[in-house]
């Protein structure tokens, strides 16, 4: 069997073996609930908006319900697999309360099956990346296929950043092959998580003066925005609040130097301070685009913008690095070991119920183990002991991103016409 196929099948097997037994309860719960709402014809954003209004009314604070705050296209990746699940198990809920920061109720034996089904598009995205990478370098494909961080995010947690990653990789590959329509289309789909939007000015600036190519790119992008236009017409307030206001007014934090804010228990103050990195992000992107946007090779230019957005973007969750990890593997200037910091961070930040279910709830013995570990974790967390290594890892990761940013900026310059 060809090496490329072998490594792809091996990557698939590893992920499928793990997938049914674990999940990030918040994110998988959110995708599960959203799939249910969408399949029954409901408006995803209405549900999230109502929850937000209720929370703000009850607390008098500018806090948001963290539910489906993504591009409407995203849910269409999951609906077919959820629909297949309902053909087997029916329509009754099998994950109850997964949205909330508390323990969800899981209905056995169906919950492992639905978790597995909802992870299939994520796993397919991962496998597609392995296949694409293997086309140019088998070692890089192997690295991606078995990197513990990548496997954890996709197969254990069930986060869908691999979908962002595969379409970002495709947009890069098609762009460099001058298939600008496809590049725009793939880039548009990569926006299912909004943080790649910072790359749009780069694509545009690279195509300035080549108006036909720019037109093709924008046409491809516009097609992916049709569902956005639909929601902007059907429920503009709801959509705007959930997608733009929520994302724009999040309190900073994550695997970055800004997670110190988690020690400041004052949401109004936190929101004010969270504006600082936003300003630097805008200035930094403008500088990079004008100074390096047309001169750096496309791969390095894309990575430079993404590294900068990770440095000055106020939220950098553990899984975000997955989106650019294939590009990092393709780049000779980057250090592929960057994943170690967010991987370590996962175990500092997340209580066990974030990912050690449903397997730990499958028997009283496992549940007892889970309960003991979770109690220990919570006592360390509330004592502030975990916040110190979390901050140290956040700062270290930011500095590593800075180092990689400076390295990619040293790439040989192009002469663009």
């Amino acid at each position: 069997m060809e090496g490329r196929v072998k490594i792809t099948l091996a990557a698939l097997a590893v992920r499928l073996a793990i997938a049914p037994f674990f999940m990030h309860s918040g994110d998988m719960g959110s995708i599960y609930e959203s799939s249910r709402i969408a399949l029954s014809g409901g408006n995803l954003y209405d549900f999230v908006y109502q929850q937000t209004l209720q929370m703000q009314h009850a607390t008098g604070l500018p806090i948001f319900f963290e539910g489906y705050a993504y591009h409407p296209l995203l849910i269409y990746f999951f609906i077919p697999f959820y629909w297949l699940f309902t053909l087997i198990a029916g329509n009754s809920p099998v994950i109850i309360g997964g949205h909330y920061p508390s323990l969800p109720v899981l209905i056995y034996p169906w919950s492992p099956l639905v978790i597995m089904m909802l992870k299939i598009p994520i796993i397919l995205a991962d496998v597609a990346i392995v296949y694409l990478l293997a086309g140019s370098d088998l070692k890089k494909a192997r690295y991606y296929a078995f990197c513990p961080y990548i496997v954890f995010i996709s197969a254990v947690w069930g986060m869908f950043d691999a979908i962002v990653a595969v379409f970002l990789l495709l947009s890069y590959l098609t762009f460099t092959k001058k298939s600008h329509f496809l590049a725009g289309f793939c880039f548009g789909i990569s926006l299912v998580k909004l943080y790649t939007v910072v790359l749009l000015p780069l694509f545009v600036i690279r195509l300035l003066g080549r108006w036909r190519a720019l037109g093709e790119f924008l046409l491809g992008l516009l097609i992916t925005l049709v569902p956005v236009a639909y929601y902007m017409i059907v429920s503009p307030d709801t959509f705007w609040n959930v997608l733009v206001i929520f994302q724009g007014t999040r309190v900073m934090g994550g695997v970055n130097l800004y997670n110190f804010i988690w020690t400041v228990m004052d949401v109004h103050f936190d929101l004010q301070v969270s504006r600082i990195p936003n300003i630097l992000l805008l200035v930094g992107i403008a500088y990079l685009l004008l100074r390096h946007g047309r001169k750096l090779p496309m791969l390095e230019a894309m990575l430079a913008i993404m590294f900068l957005s990770f440095l000055f973007g106020k939220v950098l969750n553990e899984q975000f690095l997955v989106s650019i990890f294939p590009l990092i593997l393709l780049c000779k200037k980057c250090d592929r070991r960057l994943w170690i910091a967010p991987f370590a961070f996962i175990f500092l930040r997340s209580p066990f119920y974030y990912f050690a279910i449903p397997i730990l709830w499958a028997s009283p013995y496992f549940y007892d183990l889970y309960f003991q570990a979770d109690t220990l974790w919570k006592s360390l967390q509330t004592g502030g002991y975990l916040l110190m290594p979390m901050y140290a890892v956040g700062v270290a990761f930011s500095l590593l991103l800075l180092y990689n940013l400076l390295q990619v900026l040293k790439a040989p310059r192009l002469k663009l016409v």
Binding site: M55, I63, V267, I276, L387, L402
Partner: protein, 286 residues
């Protein structure tokens, strides 16, 4: 041996940025966080006065409504719970304050030291407020437009005596003589220090009951029929303790700048010597 580091200007800026931001929690604690109710991202509120730390939990949790802590003089950053009002176990007109009401919370428009919570259900609205007075007391009040039959539970792990009653003469839950002042003493298990507190009631209650638990009392319940009642809570700890605090959550703002400087220094060293190592490797290969 003299070591010189050549630091690029971007790196210098970024390191200064990291270190400067790491002082934000300390600045907040010093200049902003004192003597005002502050809302958490979870929906809870907290108040830090020179003497008390008061937590009022989010609407999705029935405990700590509020939980009044005292800051011991031997360790001002520490918090020892003095009295916790529980919505889980308190009732008005037979309705549980946590399960049977919708709650909304906000800071009073007239005073930043007053938190107001409105409990609503069909035909009944109860206003609860928590006011931290400048005089060094925490006032928890309940008001309704018409007379209410209330059962309020206050928890403390553990009180060694309540109005002179000790565990020796109270082996079962016991109604104690009706009074408008409840005095209690306690022994904190973490710092092995003792202390005392008082709860002053604005109206005469119908009954006061104390509940023994493992060598002390863990709660005192007050039943009353009235349209309003305030509980004025105050307390102190002894100046001496047998166990010194080593670390507390509120020490974090001091630790963060140290961590930032340490990680930044490590980065510079690794970057400098890493580069030297790489140069050396390249030279030896050639």
């Amino acid at each position: 041996m003299r070591v010189t580091l050549k630091i690029p200007i971007v790196t210098t800026f970024f390191l200064a940025y990291v270190i400067a931001l790491s002082f934000i929690p300390l600045a907040h604690q010093t200049f902003v966080a004192q003597s005002s109710w502050l809302g958490y991202g979870t929906g809870a509120y907290a108040f830090q006065s020179p003497t008390y730390f008061v937590l009022f939990n989010d609407p999705y949790d029935g405990s700590s409504k509020p939980n009044i802590h005292v800051n011991p003089t031997f360790a001002p950053n520490e918090r020892i719970s003095l009295v916790e009002f529980s919505d889980w176990t308190s009732y008005v007109n037979g309705f549980n304050l946590f399960n049977d009401f919708n709650v909304t919370m906000n800071i009073s428009k007239t005073s930043r030291s007053r938190l107001e919570a409105t409990y609503t259900r069909p035909g009944l609205v109860v206003h609860k407020f928590v006011d931290v007075s400048a005089a060094g007391q925490v006032i928890v009040g309940l008001q309704t437009s018409k007379e209410m039959v209330a059962h309020i539970e206050m928890w403390k792990w553990l009180m060694t005596s309540i109005n002179g009653f000790t565990i020796q003469d109270t082996l079962k839950p016991k109604l104690i003589p009706i009074t408008q002042r409840i005095n209690f003493t306690f022994r904190d298990q973490t710092f092995l220090t003792s202390g005392g507190g008082s709860i002053e009631l604005s109206r005469v209650p119908n009954q006061i009951e104390v509940w023994p638990f493992e060598g002390g009392f863990n709660r005192v319940t007050v039943d009353f029929i009235n349209s309003e009642m305030t509980f004025t809570v105050s307390g102190t700890t002894a100046n001496t303790q047998q166990k010194s605090p080593i670390w507390n959550y509120t020490d974090l703002p001091y630790a963060l700048p140290i961590i930032a400087v340490t990680v930044a220094s490590l980065y510079l060293l690794v970057e400098h010597y890493g580069r030297k190592g790489k140069d050396h490797t390249r030279r030896s290969r050639s």
